[in-house]
Symmetry: D2
Subunit: 279 residues, 4 copies
């Protein structure tokens, strides 16, 4: 029997993020929205963005310090400098922080600066990385590989679980298909499937899943209605100036409108089942 | 400029189904649920199912008389006999009826018995069929081909529009990908994309889109939240005895529970926008 | 047991094309090359092309009279007028002719003018068309659907066989994948798979399979080496002026060079197995 | 201008493998066959296999010591113990050796024991690994990711080249598509595309590309005819007892028959162009 399976644990897992006494919970009745820029670009921009996100009531800041890029000549992120900026923005605002880790030897460093690790889609089957994360006890967001079957994704989580780390949240972020209108095809059926097969929470990243900001409000609403435990969204004060992925980033204003729409939708879900509300 | 495009017509089209004075409208503020068995099997079963569907408040009955099947040795449907049963069930209950037409020379016959034609995914680029439907004025549900890009789908509609028939509703029903957990991958991003690109309504078929009844409630909710104008669902009084697609059919009881869930969800959407309610 | 299967018939089928006493055989020791323009454009161009092809030693002329096109506003072919031109070119040169048929009611007409029918990839599961072709006894080239599994393709052939027509040749022409460098992904593994599963011949269309004339020589050689019974190639005297698919058409000169290369390659195969030679 | 491109270097690169004075060359007029078991299981089996391979005239032994497996509970390889066995088999037979490296910190170790490194498909975008290999000067076989576009694959090579290591050979090993008859879809069009776009050699792995030993002879012949610089093949003395991938492994006897077929085919190619012969 696999640790990841519903057979191993029938009730939903709730994953605690942050220091004891000041934790945010993913799963259960919560709907968690993680927002921020694709890449951390400089201290002022990230802090401004973080304070704006804090005002919306969300409690999670995302931002990349190590950026996996198809070309070696694209902007690769600020590295440890970026981690320090992220930590500063977290401390200044009280937001929890999440950022990507790309290699086993960096797990300890990233875990020191951020509240939650992220495994990107290109590394879903980087087994050395998964094992190293498994040996830490840090919460981790495990993104689905761009062409990973759901079974392979569950087994990737099992690599982490087998080493003793049970603090895993899945993240559906789109799969590669023949369709070219969208950057990827967001596979929302992954949400109820993960709920059937596993006790671990799952959130959705419609920013990468569609690559088109015009589609994000609809797909965010659909994710909530499908039963997801949250969203990861790219939010940037000036998307047109972003060093990476500007086309799929929401402005602060658009982000606020989306949250308002999700709150209304949530009330329609809560009237029925009393679960999963935005705070 | 294409007839199918938002550039040609900026406001949403509303498609009227049924005889003058007794019409059902797809699009606008309506959320239309089409329900019924995959295949029409016999008169008693279809009439029983139709009366149960009528009680739920839905006003659309689906059922296949001509069935496209991968194998020539699988059940191919009752043909014209099935059309007559469908018409009878429609008359007895007041439900509007929809059924698939597979060849140009049958368009006139099917149009005589049913209120709405359906073009199945295998025939999305059967251009002779599209043109013949274009020359009739019958409303038509145009399912997306199993590996059709959204651009090809829009162009398939244009074949019908170019012949003068503007009564078209799109239906997303899943695309073929590498994932084998589901029968197809339901591409819900097609909903906001069609809304951006076209003035025509779009509904979703999560029964074929997932092939697994356990996923249908979540994906139906997600479709509503994504902005779809309705659903097509396989409902069968005894799925375990169905001649085709029993694994993805809801029982009447499960169908009622799903409608109740969708009504609650709809209230969360309507509080915001005053549109798109279940009646 | 399916008619299409090796279990039904263990020895390879050989399909005879053309009038009794003047037949060309596909399958067995033959490697058949069908060449010609994507669409028949006018009588002079087709006749000129046909005479050039005749000179190369090939004995098959292809050309589309009814063209399936994604857009209703693209050139749709010359229709019956095109069939007459094709027949004329066949008579004048002694080449066998092949052209696509798109709807059941046209089967008889196309069969009157051409030596072999072609079912295009969009119509691989147009079951009405398959049945009508099954009721004729005309040889037919059955192209693989753009996203058809090999099992579905075999079953499509079974629709024709079940009506009594055993004169079927398969044609692999590329499948739809995520890769965008090529128009489609030519799946050459289909060649040995069809040979394992069926007694019917299979040829390959690298013109549509790659969409790029620079790749055609390599993929033609690979098709021969993989065990295919022939090729279908787009050849046009002036590709830059072609009304359709010019980018993937070979000039007469390039076509001659390719045939020479294939003849050499064939000798390497024949030294071993004494089968499958170019004339 | 990218280092990987034909624009940077117009003539074909030839990659030297092994110690100075005793090198094997990949590229140019050579057709290199790498053979051996999927995983190194024990010393006796590998040495027996190595001597059999040596007798065929091939000069390359493959075998996995670190095995990437979807499940953490599958056999993960013998690790450094396996590397030592591989080195021993190489020394005893004079065969060059190749084996997979999965993490940056192991590059130096693997480079000490083997003549050539392999980057597996799951790690094609493990950028930390690519950079570390780039900083070594060891020859490397870069397998295509299971859903990598050719452009992404070229850029992955550029990561290695940008660090100064130009000893790269590409390996096409099948992509993930909807087809389930084969394990993957071998994309042979990648061979002429890489030849057009890059100066680096490319070989093909039909064992993983098809997952079915019955298809390997045809697809190996097709690879040679398409212009590949070699093959990587799974060969095992007792496939039915293999710990991994037995279904796609050739026996020594089957391997010998295939080499004989390839030699004949090669003569058909050489008569034309005087290049690319088996020894």
């Amino acid at each position: 029997m696999l640790y990841v399976s519903r057979d191993f644990q029938s009730e939903d897992s709730q994953i605690k993020i942050g220091p004891p006494g000041n934790e945010t919970i993913i799963g259960g009745d919560n709907f968690t929205v993680m927002a921020g820029p694709c890449a951390i670009e400089d201290e002022k921009t990230l802090l401004d963005t973080a304070f704006e996100i804090k005002k919306t009531g969300c409690d999670f800041l995302r931002g990349g310090a190590f950026k996996p890029r198809s070309s070696p000549y694209s902007f690769q992120g600020l590295g440890v400098e970026g981690l320090k900026i992220l930590q500063k923005a977290g401390s200044a605002t009280g937001l929890k922080t999440i950022t990507e880790v790309m290699e086993p030897e960096n797990v300890e460093t990233v875990a020191k600066y951020a509240d939650m690790l992220q495994v990107g889609s290109r590394n879903m089957q980087n087994f050395s990385l998964l094992k190293e994360i498994g040996r830490s006890n840090k919460p981790v967001l495990l993104k689905r590989g761009i062409s990973a079957t759901i079974e392979e994704w569950l087994m990737a989580a099992e690599y982490i679980l087998a080493e003793g780390n049970f603090n895993i949240v899945f993240c559906e972020r789109g799969i590669r298909t023949f369709e070219t209108y969208t950057r990827n095809t967001l596979d929302l059926s992954a949400v109820p499937i993960i709920k059937l097969e596993s006790h671990l929470p799952i959130i959705v990243d419609p920013s990468h899943g569609t690559g088109n900001k015009n589609l994000i409000p609809s797909m965010s609403s659909a994710s909530l209605a499908a039963g997801a435990d949250g969203l990861m969204l790219e939010v940037h004060p000036h998307p047109e100036r972003a060093l990476s992925d500007g086309k799929q980033s929401l402005t602060i204003n658009e982000f606020n409108q989306l949250l308002s729409k999700l709150n209304n939708l949530s009330s329609g879900i809560c009237q029925e089942s009393k679960i999963r509300c935005l705070n």
